[in-house]
Subunit: 238 residues, 2 copies
DNA sequence: CCTCGTTCGTACGGTTCCGGACCCTTTATC
DNA sequence: GATAAAGGGTCCGGAACCGTACGAACGAGG
């Protein structure tokens, strides 16, 4: 089996590992293409694999018994999923859905547990990522409580933009409305507001970021804190 | 120094520990009364102590650069705080505020880190608690997105009720409005709805739960899932 | 080129909630 | 007992969103 070089990996967690430790765990990484809409984990099912995206975007989607659904967290090549695997939890609590197709390396759950127990650096990076993701969750919670649809959409587009290469975000209004837990027409009109300001261009099934900085200013305090914390948590680890 | 017996502790995490392991860590636990309004951790400050409440309630409050604030998570004697201490993080990201006065045992951050590294069972319980708390965060996020004020208030009162002994919740409308990130009059009218249905009685600075089951039914899917997951995660650990 | 399913634009009434304000009651302070 | 502070009840206009619906535009397949 060919072991991918660390530098070529393009997953930020794996590149953070000391080289020797990366080489240790690398044989347990298998390349895997994840189609749009694929479920990386399903609520109530056993966790079988841990995924390290190198491209594409996935979402942690919480749902209630009555069928209400909303995105709680988003991840791309800066993290891994499901984070609960690191806590010795065998069943997934939430759905994890791939929203933009991408490539990943994945690891068997048992191998993941093995390295969590046997490699300090690996464990440290994973644990830090949990903390970073957890911070993102708190800001999703506060943003859902205090921000309007326009700002929440701006925040969400920025988080997507952070995780794609280029400026295209190939998603439909319908899908975005599920993530933000708002009406589909609310997404349409909110996108018009952003487009009217020149921040984005909106096409059928595709959104293009045109002026990221202005978009950040528009989002105001809805965007930035979790991202800054991620940087802080992941810098100077060893 | 007198070491409190495990059974007398009344903090569910500490009572979950095997007795031998509890005795190991117990000398590092110091009793501490936490006044209402006290900050157990402040955003940006170093984490100095880890707290195990035995009574009272605390809140994890997220805030944005522009001063928006909202509660992201609540905890009592079923948990500990700050959870990020377990991840080797030295600075607190959020404010942790005591909303109902109570007693606690607290541990120096350095001692906490020591036991996380040197006692498997201790570490496992703490990590499980992180997972449980993280699940609570996701449901706060979805609830903020999809539920109205009445349901969110019901959910919140139920979570408080889980963490007090008796049926009294001594809090003001003003304070609740901060937690839910809504207007203070919105809390007043929402409480009237609950009171009109006979679920609660509302007095000046005090709320009494009169019919918990009916309150749960009113809250519908806003309440229950995280609590069930906590049970599942914390049962049959060893 | 035609058809059909997907995606998006738009409209309308109704509800919830906000921002802000005002005043009354209860409790604390001196 | 006077005064101040805290807590709570209520009202108003307006904004934001919702549920729902309908139709136009686009794109893939025959």
């Amino acid at each position: 089996m060919v072991v991918p070089s660390q530098a070529s990996l393009n997953n930020q967690l794996l590149t953070l590992l000391p080289e020797a430790d990366y080489r240790q765990i690398a044989p347990d990484l298998a390349p895997f293409n994840v189609a749009r809409g694929a479920l990386l984990a399903r609520a109530g099912d056993p966790i079988e694999h841990v995924y390290y995206l190198t491209s594409g975007i996935g979402s942690l989607v919480a749902s209630t018994p009555e069928g209400n659904r909303a995105e709680a967290g988003i991840f791309g090549r800066e993290g891994y999923i499901p984070t609960s695997a690191a806590m010795g939890v065998e069943l997934s609590v939430h759905d994890v859905i791939m929203q933009i197709e991408g490539d990943a390396y994945r690891m068997e759950f048992t191998a993941f547990r093995k390295w969590m127990d046997n490699n300090r650096y690996f464990a440290k990076v994973m644990i830090r990522c949990i903390e970073a993701f957890s911070i993102q969750l708190t800001y999703t919670a506060i943003s859902n409580a205090v921000h309007g649809v326009d700002e929440r959409l701006a925040r969400w587009l920025l988080m997507c933009h952070d995780r794609v290469s280029g400026n295209e975000i190939p998603l439909t209004h319908e899908f975005i409305s599920l993530m933000l837990a708002v009406r589909r027409p609310s997404v349409t009109t909110a996108l018009h507001v952003l487009e009217g300001n020149g921040f984005i261009r909106s096409f059928r099934g595709n959104i293009i970021i045109r002026n990221r900085q202005a978009l950040e200013e528009f989002a105001r305090d809805a965007y930035g804190k979790p991202e800054a914390e991620y940087q802080r948590l992941m810098t100077g680890l060893f």
